[in-house]
Symmetry: C2
Subunit: 323 residues, 2 copies
């Protein structure tokens, strides 16, 4: 149970072990349903509310698994990452729970809210110039100086195994699903969702939903080879990343389909979730349901699990506000 | 189990019978917790999310109980009410579930959203002039014409018994509570909360929270005699009603304290619930937590159940938006 994922592929056993490891440290998030949304869709929808997860995103699962998999000696040297969003806050939180340092490399133009979230959780922020090269260099230097372990936001089996635990819970809370839809950013959540779901229910369909403005996984999946995003342009800021070889391998092997969602449908889905489900999702968190609003998935007569992945956003700047 | 509440007082047995009657027709709403809000309060908070109830408010409980308590002969003639808010929608929904008509008297200046909600659920709207006298007259005429049963939003033991079922669930989901806080409008929810909570856990404290701008229950409770609201002035539009003799009797007998909440604290509580708990509450639904934000209840070291009563509001007009 304390072993790291042992193979070069993610397995259901890794995800189950991750769940045993983290379950007392995360929320078992509720599943919401709505007759109104079911009628609109023509199917039965089960919304897995990872926006209600600790820190407001599923990222708590992967970060907690990675941190608690470290040996005591590794842990004592801390963890590091160069992601500034929900993963940075989640890693800070997990490190705090284990009583170890978390070094967060952040561009010096990062929004104040993101800086505050990391600081509140005890993360040590290291600022750098706002380029990928500068971020990687800053992270490499911290790791060289401190011996900290890099915890990548998705290109890491420990993190991926943690993200898959949402699906273990979902299939316990709503066992008879025909389809599960999850969003795709770097591909950690969708690939772990697919491994978990197919491991438990071989016949289930797992579909990835991606903003049309950041459709690298869509183009990669349908062409069979990994194509990086060039210039992502979407309100769903958590889904602008590109898949890695590791996540794309899992997507290619385990995901049944990848669809894209228009900006208009992302915003309509987000508003509908707020109005009808009464739960606060960020744009990225609404993309999975957006695929149904956008009629990209035929859910008529089906039972569909939908992962709402996060709920962190600035309440002063809502996309339907014209200011 | 099919008997109506038999005495002139509300009892735990009535509430338990109501729960058996309605449980398959309503949501068992989740209880959310947050380490962040616990640290701010100095106690452990358990938020009972009736904003996630069917129709977005606890009102589904009472309306469903009242409708399903009717004999077949009574039911066939329908139900009527002259409330235009969450109760009207809840009564329409419950009547539709039983396949009977719901007559909803509504002032001819009622907001379009409220009219649409009732219409969508099959309620038959009867418009009248926007005065209390006109509403009562219109309701009396419908009842005379159709033989429909009046289902008052709070001054009715069948409705009150239904509202108390939220507390049965809460004390099952979080058994060791020291305090429960519920909002006060007409007093149906708070009195049923107190009867249920004290019936199950005699030592528990039940506290009612009321907007300072509609503080009739506060003044009535502390003076020992019922004082109607004169001119309610609060953003919490669901809590502008005045208690009835029936609800005030229960409040006086069973509620441990009544406190008031400033408008500023209502809005701060609402925003905090959205930001941290990621759940959409309307201003009225945030008043219970507002009492803690406003430091009117000492929760240090305590385990506190907080009923978030509703989540219906216009997302284009949020109180922190300056437009």
């Amino acid at each position: 149970m304390d072993a790291k994922p042992s193979s070069d592929r993610l397995t259901l056993a890794d995800i189950r072990a991750a769940h045993e490891r983290i379950r007392e440290r995360i929320h078992r998030t509720p599943v919401l349903t709505s007759t109104t949304l079911d009628q609109q869709a023509g199917g039965k929808l089960f919304f897995k509310c990872e926006n209600l997860q600790k820190g407001g995103a599923f990222k708590a699962r992967g970060a907690t698994n990675a941190v608690f998999l470290l040996s005591d000696a590794e842990a004592a040297r801390g963890v590091a990452t160069h992601s500034s969003g929900n993963h940075a806050a989640a890693l800070s939180r997990a490190a705090k729970a284990r009583g170890i340092p978390a070094y967060i490399v952040m561009p010096n133009n990062a929004p104040q809210a993101k800086r505050a979230a990391v600081e509140r959780l005890g993360g040590k922020i290291v600022f750098c110039e706002p380029t990928i090269l500068a971020r990687e260099a800053a992270a490499a230097k911290i790791i060289a100086d401190t011996g900290a372990t890099l915890v990548h936001p998705f290109d890491d089996f420990r993190v991926m195994a943690g993200q898959g635990t949402a699906t273990l819970e979902l299939l316990d809370q709503a066992p008879d699903l025909d389809i599960i839809v999850a969003p795709i950013g770097g591909g950690g959540l969708i690939s772990a969702t697919a491994v978990a779901a197919h491991g438990i229910k071989p016949g289930i369909r797992v579909i990835g939903a991606e903003p049309a403005g950041a459709d690298d996984a869509y183009r990669s999946f349908h062409s069979g080879k990994r194509i990086p995003t060039v210039q992502p342009n979407t309100i769903a800021d958590g889904l602008r990343s590109t898949t890695s070889e590791r996540t794309f391998n899992e997507i290619r092997s385990h995901v049944d389909d990848v669809v894209t969602v228009s900006e208009e449908s992302i915003i309509a889905a987000m508003r509908s979730i707020w109005e009808v489900l009464k739960t606060v999702v960020e744009p990225s968190g609404a993309v999975s349901y957006g695929s149904i609003v956008d009629k990209k998935i035929d859910v008529r007569g089906k039972r569909v699990g939908i992962i709402l992945s996060g709920g962190n956003l600035d309440l002063d700047k809502l996309p339907w506000m014209t200011t």
